[in-house]
């Protein structure tokens, strides 16, 4: 199970990179980056998974005294929570800049933006 989730995550990262490298449309590149982002999050969560254990939430079935042997690693989950939120911020910023670029040149084709080309 861990391997399936982790392999899917790695695959998503590769798909995202492929999309970002081969697409010329800015919006498609942004979507590709969010796909890669999800891949990274999936890999981190998969690292924290342990077979036969349950979510790190204490209740009547997971007693606080036995927690250390019953729950999966909560630290990667907290990390991913942060990563997702930052990912949203980054995506919104990318979209705002893409809009400004479109306003300037009336195109989203990255090849038309030659100012920084050498």
């Amino acid at each position: 199970m861990t391997y399936v989730a982790m392999a899917t995550g790695f695959l998503l990262i590769l798909i995202g990179f492929y999309g970002a490298l081969t697409n010329r449309n800015l919006l498609r590149m942004i979507v590709a980056f969010t796909v890669a982002d999800s891949g990274v999050n999936l890999v981190i969560v998969a690292i924290g998974y342990m077979h036969g254990r349950t979510a790190p939430i204490l209740d009547s079935t997971v007693k606080a005294s036995a927690a250390a042997t019953r729950i999966i690693d909560p630290v990667p989950q907290a990390l991913v929570l942060t990563a997702i939120v930052i990912g949203v911020g980054v995506t919104a910023l990318m979209l705002a800049y893409a809009y400004k670029l479109y306003e300037k040149k009336q195109t989203l084709d990255i090849a038309k933006f030659t100012e920084l080309k050498w």
Binding site: F10, F17, A78, I86
Partner: protein, 232 residues
């Protein structure tokens, strides 16, 4: 063509790297030292049933404050970038009205979605969920409103007031922890209560509610800013 080839070669290299990582990966059978500490001490020290929440809000609370700040900066910059050079006089072309289903559905669903968001962040210390998730749900309610009526103008004043107050109170609660309990953002200046009760875990429900309001306001303002760019 050559560009695509270079990209594929690069991806093959990264893929090979990932394969090595995957082949050499062995799942832990025991919690590592940090995780074990959190698992053993959360219940008696923090009193939160959800250990992830205890980590996010208390153990690593300072990081969360920084994270909220990053999100605030992102939403501010989105507003700033999009507001630059925005044409003031908009010729308001009449839009086709949103369909009956969408309009009625929005009236019915938007308040329920907001309520669900509030439920999720108020129960963040007990169930999966919390301030960030609840805030995102609230913003999805705002998105539904925008879909039903693209010309709708959210009050930016109200949004920024909610956001600023949530931010200020977050820091004030952190300082209360510094003076009344063990340190900055320590939740134990309020009683930790019984594990699993709604009013437990000290200041965590309070802090997570503030985070929920703040994140909801920030994401909604991003959505509103992006929606207002629509050329009509």
């Amino acid at each position: 063509m050559i560009k695509r080839f270079v990209a594929l070669v690069l991806l093959a290299a990264i893929g090979a790297m990932f394969l090595t990582l995957l082949a050499g990966y062995e799942p832990d059978t025991e919690l590592n030292l940090t995780a074990r500490y959190y698992a053993d001490h959360t219940a008696e020290d923090i009193g939160a049933a959800n250990i992830v929440t205890a980590i996010v809000v208390t153990y690593r609370g300072l990081d969360t404050l920084g994270e909220v700040t990053v999100l605030f900066l992102a939403s501010t910059i989105v507003g700033l970038v999009l507001a630059l050079g925005r044409k003031q006089e908009k010729n308001q072309r009449a839009l086709l009205p949103a369909g009956e289903l969408l309009t009625t559905g929005t009236r019915f669903l938007a308040p329920l979605i907001m309520l669900l968001g509030v439920y999720v962040f108020v129960n963040g210390h007990l169930t999966p969920g919390g301030g960030f998730q609840g805030g995102a749900i609230i913003a999805s309610g705002a998105l539904l409103l925008l879909l039903a009526d693209p010309l709708k103008h959210f009050s930016h004043g109200l949004i920024s007031t909610v956001e600023s107050f949530a931010g200020i109170f977050y820091v004030v609660i952190g300082l209360l922890g510094l003076f009344l309990a063990g340190g900055f953002l320590d939740n134990r200046f309020l009683p930790t209560g019984a594990l699993g009760a709604l009013f437990s875990a000290g200041a965590i429900p309070l802090i997570y509610s503030l985070i929920g309001l703040k994140v909801g306001a920030e994401l909604s303002s991003m959505l509103a800013n992006l929606a207002e760019t629509e050329e009509l």
